[in-house]
């Protein structure tokens, strides 16, 4: 039911996620923040049941923080963080799986922006753009048409906004609010949100 959209551009990554939290026929809230900050320069947009979303993001982000504390402040690269998250998903698969699909984006000095598409089974791919949820069916064609190599931040944001408009037009389930975040050399920053997550 969740929508997570990610686009990588020259110098960073933009991730957008819907803010609806609901089950069965009921909407509990429309201001949930589904994009978790992992480290100073990485974030993870998650789709799945709220329990696993919270459990998984807290587990991964705190373990990444622990690594930095235990290893003299050594920062884990986005690639390393994605591999760690993938490893945990794979390990949990045959025990008690996390039913989450993830888009992990981050900024590193050398590799600039990078985006990883992970699913609940522990599959991982480095991608230039990606989506999780039913949204995949709606926005993939927009990515194919509008995502160019060497996009600027403005281009990437335009693509994301086009995707959100498409979801609002054509997707059956009501997802009125979206939160959009970017990560670049300055760190993780909120670009816009529909409902203020601070109220949760």
């Amino acid at each position: 039911m969740d929508t997570v959209i990610g686009v990588c551009y020259e110098g960073g990554v933009i991730i957008a996620a819907d803010q609806s939290n609901g089950r069965s026929i009921l909407t509990y809230q429309t201001n949930l923040d589904k994009i978790a900050r992992l480290s100073s320069h990485s974030m993870m947009g998650v789709s799945g049941p709220n329990c696993d979303l919270v459990n998984f993001t807290e587990y991964i982000s705190k373990n990444i923080n622990l690594y930095e504390l235990s290893n003299d402040g050594t920062k884990l690269s986005t690639k390393a963080q994605a591999n760690f998250a993938r490893g945990e998903l794979a390990a949990a698969l045959r025990k008690g799986p996390f039913q989450v699909n993830v888009l992990l984006g981050g900024y590193d000095e050398k590799t600039k922006g990078s985006l990883y598409h992970l699913d609940y089974m522990g599959t991982m791919h480095k991608v230039k753009h990606g989506a999780q949820g039913y949204a995949q069916h709606f926005v993939s064609s927009i990515f194919d048409k509008d995502c160019m190599p060497n996009m600027t931040e403005e281009d990437a944001l335009n693509v994301v906004q086009k995707c959100i408009k498409e979801i609002h037009t054509r997707f059956l389930i009501s997802q009125p609010n979206f939160i959009i975040k970017k990560v670049d050399k300055n760190g993780v920053e909120v670009i816009s949100f529909g409902g203020d997550p601070a109220d949760t």
Binding site: N71, T74, L76, S77, K79, A80, N83, F84
Partner: protein, 267 residues
């Protein structure tokens, strides 16, 4: 006699903890200190700092099957672990490093940093210095490689679990650190080698400097061990070169033979 041990299994019945590291009245852990002395049984292992960014490790092998220096990780990002002291203990510590670097690779798809490698060794050494029927590791190890800024870094670990960072010498072409051999032998070697390298012409190649240092190492070690027979015979040398451009290279049989020939020729 109530003797407490910090191991989870109680060996008191057997009195195995009679000789394990416990404090002396003047606050020293004698077993751990004695373990450090075990390194003197190995012949000296030199780490030379050449031309600001290259480390060359030279040693005489005591065993003809086991190398004293292990080159780990990919050649572009080399880590060298050098051993001295009880060989079996050193190899066991090295196994721990290999296991931890494999786990790190599996979990994060990332290699361990030099300091992390030193920490793995130091942690194992420290855990055994608690005693409880287990003796400390009698190994003094050296871990060298390059940090992010492509600067050579070098750490020494000892049986207490301490990590010592060996500073970069101010002038290039000097001995940066040494493990193995007695204190007096190390002092002698350092002085002689620094003198010889200092006197050699500025355009000396790395090969020249390796030959110079190896010759002094072999001569002084044999003198210290009072080996009078086989004076001219070639020694079992082991040389590893670490540089940001070459990565980590162990000198081949042919290269080592060439060095031996040059050493014998000068005699």
């Amino acid at each position: 006699m109530a003797v407490s041990s910090s191991s989870s299994i109680n060996y008191n019945v057997y009195n195995y903890d009679m000789a394990t590291p416990q404090f002396t009245p003047d606050g020293r852990l004698l077993q751990v200190e004695y373990a450090s002395v075990a390194a003197e049984q190995s012949s000296p292992l030199l780490a030379l700092q050449l031309k600001h960014d290259t480390i060359v490790l030279i040693a005489i092998k005591n065993s003809n099957t086991q190398n004293r220096m292990a080159l780990l990780m990919d050649p572009q990002n080399p880590v060298c672990v050098a051993m001295s002291g009880v060989l079996a203990d050193s190899v066991a510590l090295l196994q721990g490093v290999l296991e931890e670097s494999s786990n790190n690779r599996k979990r994060y798809n990332k290699e361990l940093t030099i300091l992390q490698v030193a920490n793995v060794i130091a942690k194992a050494c420290q855990q055994n210095s608690f005693g409880g029927g287990i003796r400390p590791y009698g190994s003094t190890m050296m871990v060298c490689g390059f940090c992010d800024a492509k600067q050579p870094v070098l750490y020494q670990t000892d049986p207490s679990g301490a990590i010592l960072e060996a500073p970069c010498p101010e002038t290039p072409n000097q001995v940066r650190w040494m493990i193995g051999g007695s204190q007096s032998l190390q002092r002698q070697l350092k002085q002689r080698i620094n003198q010889a390298l200092g006197r050699s012409p500025l355009d000396s190649s790395m090969a020249d400097m390796i030959v110079l240092a190896s010759r002094i190492l072999i001569k002084e070690t044999r003198k210290a061990n009072k080996e009078t027979k086989d004076k001219g015979a070639p020694a079992s040398l082991e040389v590893v070169v670490l540089s940001p451009s070459l990565g980590g290279q162990r000198l081949t049989e042919e290269q080592l033979n060439a060095i031996q020939e040059r050493i014998s020729a000068k005699k």
